[in-house]
């Protein structure tokens, strides 16, 4: 698994966890489901904003205080959530909560009473959550918006990576932007790793199917392994197709004809 070594070193904290889960996921053949796009949604309850404006329990300079922001991560992908959590811890945020289950989400949000909420873009409940943010007392009717609508490059980078943010009008951009930037880079890194993992997996599968195709040829055409491989490669070159594709059709055909080796 050499591709792991190429990953940025700052991911090392989460890497252990990632690998463990990888084994689990791969064994269920579900790795293709890993996310490519994610959104981070940040929103700040009015109550918190009120506190900020009044300086209650806060430094006068909101950006300096690192104890205040309670951050909730809602992501059904535990690995990705853990990577974000690690990043937030490194950035000095200690009040981070993860939620992986959508059941009873309204009550959980009310309990956690978060200042910022992080959500992945693939979550099919985004419409429900947005509606809740706008109406529910659980989140005190935040004016959910991007950090700064004028910062279109940042917004695009965010949605590209899968990250967007809800922020109450008037909250200091400086406090939210580092969280968003961190999430963008970590979501991107996660997608990259997932992609590399997927490539590695399909390479492994290709190799297996080529081996089976060789076996079929060796048996049916009485060829040596080297000759069987050469025949597959020649066929692939003649048809301008991938070796694995040729092997796959051969295995399928052999299966249909009932002489699968």
């Amino acid at each position: 698994m050499s591709f792991i070594a190429a990953s940025p070193s700052w991911l090392s904290v989460s890497l252990q966890l990632f690998l463990i889960a990888t084994v689990v996921v791969a064994s269920q053949h579900k790795i293709a489901a890993t996310a490519m796009t994610i959104t981070v949604t940040c929103l700040i309850p009015r109550r918190c904003l009120f506190a900020l404006h009044n300086g209650a329990g806060q430094s006068k300079y909101g950006g300096m205080s690192r104890t205040a922001l309670r951050i909730l991560i809602i992501d059904e992908n535990r690995i990705r959530a853990a990577i974000i959590e690690a990043g937030l811890h490194e950035a000095g945020h200690t009040a981070v909560t993860l939620i992986h289950e959508m059941t009873g989400i309204a009550r959980r949000i009310a309990e956690v009473s978060p200042d910022v909420i992080v959500i992945d873009l693939e979550n099919p409940n985004r419409d429900m959550l947005e509606n809740m943010f706008q109406l529910s007392r659980a989140v005190k009717r935040p004016v959910a918006m991007f950090v700064d609508r004028s910062d279109s490059a940042s917004i695009e980078a965010a949605v590209e990576a899968g990250v967007s943010a809800y922020v109450v009008d008037g909250l200091r951009k400086e406090r939210i932007k580092p969280i968003l930037d961190m999430a963008i880079s970590r979501f991107n890194a996660f997608s990259r790793m997932a992609r590399e993992l997927e490539e590695a997996r399909s390479e492994l599968e290709d190799r297996k199917v080529i081996d089976r195709a060789k076996g079929i040829l060796m048996k049916s055409r009485k060829l040596s392994e080297a000759d069987a491989y050469a025949l597959l490669r020649k066929t692939a070159m003649n048809q301008n197709r991938k070796l694995a594709e040729i092997a796959r059709s051969l295995v399928t055909a052999a299966g249909l004809l009932g002489d699968d080796a």
Partner: protein, 410 residues
Amino acid sequence: MTETRFEISAGFLPLLDSSLLVVAREKGFAGDEGVALHLARETSWANVRDRIAVGHFQVAHMLAPMPIACNLGLTPLAATTVVPMALGLGGNAVTVSNRLWAELTTHGAAGDLAPRATGEALKAVVAQRAGKPPLRFAVVHPHSGHNYELRYWLAACGIDPDRDIEIVILPPPLMADALGSGALDGFCAGEPWNTAAVLLGHGRIATVKAKIWRSSPEKVLGADARWAEANPEALAALLRALYRSAQWCAEPVNHPELAAILSAPGYVDRPAEWMLPALSGILRAGPETTVGVEDFFVPQAKAATFPWKSHALWFYSQMVRWSQVAHSAENAAVVRETYRPDLYRAALKPLGVALPGANAKVEGALAAATPVGSAGASLTLGPDGFFDGSLFDPDELDSYIAGQRDAFAR
């Protein structure tokens, strides 16, 4: 195949009424117009909105009220969105749990999907439950035809949707399971999700959009206004492709193929049998019951793809009614400008097809199919009645809004 002149990316949600976009691509109508149409399935309307805003999509399959909500500033990160075309009429239903259905039948619901009798039965059930937790219904989005038609139906039957029942938001693919698990008592959603709930044994279709407001708007093509402005030829080519697609979708002989196309993993990704009831209008209302519904889903006839400004204004009247936005002349003007019949006519004129002469009409005025003024070819509209017999005259917006505000004496 024509040479590709335009690259267009469109977002959609896995619903039956994504048909026009899906077929435009799969049957080559987009290609014939020189449009390379890239379709991306999304998991939420919020994603569709965000991706239009950042330019990933130029157009998208949208809930008809969504572009209005965007332009009124009711949603985060909304780009100015125009509606140059609708994607059909009707297609939704209200499905209730088996338990609630049993109660409704004891109060006179007959199973023929009639909104009045079913609604009155529901009112009786609600009254009986006084003191217990309210019945919980789900819709797919606060700014959706589903939300407004459910509320319209309930209110017209004397049920206050904000006090007598609870309405929550849930993605359509989760509706059937939520009904089965008892988390929901009912929902209003598009197809195939009502059929799914019935076939899985979780519920019973109680009434349908086509009977609450016949020939009523549901999904539209939303286009990024900046892109539409800068690329009128690309937009026109896409609209022509979608019109051809609508014609193809409307042919009953094509329905089995359409169902098969939609059932593919990249689209709705559910069995083809789930698509057929909505296409034929012969609904599986219950496990042993089928009910034929006229105009259940209309992809093309009756100017089904025309973006009527009166449709936009009716949705706006409901946004005001349910306190999502305050009524003002400025807001009404924004709404009128959101739907763009001028773009529709400009694009389709070369096809010589029927183009309505008016931009708006009195909704609910046609008791029967009626020939109307049109250019290009003859056109028949209606019937289009609201089940309670009321009319919506877009020229009398203020009094309509005032009248419905009085309904619950808010």
